[in-house]
């Protein structure tokens, strides 16, 4: 019951946030907002439908009745009240009378959970589309190769001289990068035009000395998403790490 309440709360919460997304944006004249609003409305309707389903399931559970009408011929609705076997009939080792109800309720719960997960995914995509539209989106990724000459500790990112993120790396995150992982360090919005990205890398350099280096890139943000990658590589010839910012068109 407690779990169901949690699911209900989650679904209702999502329905609310979805309704908020569904509200027309202040500048609804933008052409890109039309499909997004339609998607938001669809997600809101879906959230409300799931909410209604959860409420029905809860009402069914509270009254002891199954959440949804069972299929015809189901043993749960044999006509007789649960547990009332005809007098003189042999007692057989069949499932307990309430088992079918419970199973049906479990299936409903599983279906609701799946719907909630699907809805959550849809909302996540929708949120990204609304907060970071493709026209203004800029994303900065981090990758690391070898890492023999540099142990990463933190990265500070500035765009147009304004600090946008300062990220501390745990040993586990550094391991993941060294194994080939690529991290999305920053996701934001930028106007069309020229911009400058500056990244400061700090950590331990060769011979375990404190090491701090910077890298910068001037880039042109056109219409469409901009992807930049901070690459940390070892330069074997110089026995030094190398920091590079790559602009992915």
């Amino acid at each position: 019951m407690q779990m169901k309440n949690k699911i209900l709360a989650m679904v209702v919460g999502m329905a609310c946030s979805c309704a908020a997304f569904a509200a027309p944006p202040p500048q609804s004249s933008a052409p890109s907002s039309a499909p997004t609003s339609a998607a938001a409305a669809a997600a809101a309707a879906k959230a409300k439908a799931i909410g209604a389903q959860v409420e029905a399931a809860l009402a069914g559970a509270d009254s002891g009745a199954p959440a949804s009408p069972p299929a015809p011929g189901s043993p749960a609705v044999a006509g007789a009240p649960a547990g009332a076997a005809p007098a003189g009939s042999p007692v057989t080792a069949t499932a307990p009378p309430g088992a079918a109800d419970t199973r049906s309720l479990d299936e409903d719960t599983q279906q609701l959970k799946k719907d909630v997960v699907d809805l959550n995914r849809d909302l996540f995509v929708l949120e990204e589309e609304l907060l970071f539209p493709a026209n203004t989106q800029v994303a900065v990724y981090v990758s690391m190769d070898v890492g023999e000459f540099f142990a990463l500790d933190s990265i500070t990112l500035k765009i147009d001289n304004k600090e946008v993120t300062n990220y501390l790396y745990t040993p586990r995150e550094v391991d993941a990068l060294l194994k080939g992982g690529v991290q999305r360090l920053y996701l934001g919005n930028l106007k069309v035009g020229n911009h400058e990205l500056v990244a400061f890398f700090s950590g331990k350099g060769p011979d375990n000395r404190d090491y701090r280096r910077g890298a910068s890139l001037k880039f042109d943000k056109s219409i469409g998403a901009k992807y930049l990658e901070l690459k940390i590589e070892d330069r074997q010839r110089k026995m030094q790490p190398e920091f590079e910012i790559k602009d992915w068109e």
Partner: protein, 149 residues
């Protein structure tokens, strides 16, 4: 160690953070999801904090193998004082620096010591503000409850 019933974060997801430890490594709270986490906010000038840190250290030694992580977050204005304190009071759990007090603000700390118990699902379950002589038993019983979940 009065359990802060009105604490806004009770029953909420513990805000994630990353802080540098006095040992030099970085710690991110979300990496401990699945284990019970005890966060204690302390200051080097606070006598009660010292007594509480000793008590917490004993519990950490006992329960660390049961999936307990413990972090002491220093909210000292002067990092040198905090470092001195850590050097003079070696403890088994990790001590973190919060010089900008971002994490203290995130957890709405208005009293020292404040201790936050986070369950395996990352939810703030108990918050203690202050520490008295009879509070150890309450803390231990609630900690055991969380570890048994």
């Amino acid at each position: 160690m009065a359990n802060a019933q009105g604490f806004a974060l009770l029953g909420q997801s513990a805000p994630d953070f990353a802080l540098r430890s006095f040992g030099g490594t970085n710690v991110r709270l979300s990496e401990d999801r699945g284990d019970v986490v005890v966060l204690t906010f302390w200051g080097s000038q606070c006598d009660v904090c010292r007594r509480q840190l000793d008590m917490l250290d004993r519990s950490f030694t006992t329960y660390r193998s049961a999936g307990l992580h413990m972090y002491g977050v220093s909210v000292d204005d002067d990092a040198a004082h905090a470092r001195q304190f850590v050097a003079a009071h070696p403890l088994g759990f990790v001590m973190l620096e919060d010089p900008a007090k971002d994490v203290a603000r995130l957890y709405q700390i208005d009293n020292l010591p404040t201790t936050v118990l986070i369950d395996r699902g990352g939810i703030v379950r108990h918050v203690y503000r202050d520490f008295g002589p009879r509070d150890e038993a309450l803390y231990l019983s609630q900690l055991r409850e969380l570890l048994n979940e």
